[in-house]
């Protein structure tokens, strides 16, 4: 199950995203919550204190490799298994729930 949640700022999308993640995780399902907002506030709604929700560190280059598809387009891909990556770079939020912040954390208003 791969769910994206969108809406205008102030619509409550972050509260719904974070609480949905907690509800599913509380049922024993393994969940990763990804904050793709450039003003990330998901940490709070999943129960991670602001100080622990630093954005992803710059990824070491040796974790990535460039691959070329049949059309000659190159893309960067992870060299380690995805779930290992999440374990290593994610923040444990609650039982069965890991948080990954893609943007830089800030302390502005919520979405």
């Amino acid at each position: 199950m791969k769910i994206a949640i969108g809406g205008k700022g102030g619509s409550g999308k972050t509260t719904i995203a974070g609480t949905l993640a907690r509800v599913l995780a509380a049922r024993g399902l393994p969940v990763v919550a990804l904050d793709d907002d450039s003003n990330p506030n998901l940490a709070l709604t999943v129960g991670v204190p602001a100080g622990r929700a630093a954005g992803l560190p710059a990824l070491p280059r040796d974790l990535l490799e460039e691959r070329q598809d049949a059309q000659g387009q190159t893309s960067l891909e992870l060299k380690i298994p995805t779930d290992d990556f999440i374990d290593r770079y994610g923040v444990p939020a609650a039982d069965n729930l890991t948080l990954l912040v893609m943007g830089q954390p800030s302390h502005g208003g919520s979405g």
Partner: protein, 139 residues
């Protein structure tokens, strides 16, 4: 780099819940390719519902498999009628109506997770219902 991270959504064995950039105009093919459901949050007033409607159109153009609407901050039966009537008229799949709930603002003010602050709050009950619907519809 974002491409790598979006790929995570597709490849993880876990359930993935992505909180997108505010404003669906940022919705990209990259995100679209990797999710099976987009939830659009709409509030019960015309401008918000119109924006949600446009997001459905955009999501279809981007090839997102399924788009569903969640109404939020619904205060009155009249609000709920407004939302249901709009969703019906435009054939928007309205999955859950989340009531306006002071527990949300309380949790915000305390810097707490709503789920921990008031697990029995009406808004949390609605989100549990949302989870039921999503699990039921999951491929």
């Amino acid at each position: 780099m974002r491409g790598v991270l979006h790929g995570l959504v597709a490849e993880t064995s876990r359930i993935a819940i992505v909180d997108l950039e505010a404003g669906l105009e940022h919705l990209s093919r990259g995100t679209a390719r990797h999710v099976d459901t987009l939830l659009v949050i709409g509030e019960p007033y015309f401008k918000s519902l119109e924006t949600a409607h446009r997001s459905f159109t955009l999501a279809r153009e981007l090839g997102i498999k399924q788009t569903r609407m969640v109404a939020n901050k619904v205060r009155t039966p009249r609000d709920e009628d407004t939302v249901r009537e709009f969703a019906n008229r435009h054939a928007l799949d309205l999955v859950t109506v989340v009531p306006y709930d002071t527990a949300v603002t309380e949790a915000d003010e305390r810097g707490a997770a709503l789920f921990e602050h008031r697990p029995d709050a009406p808004s949390v009950a609605a989100i549990r219902h949302l989870a039921d619907q999503l699990v039921e519809a999951a491929p």
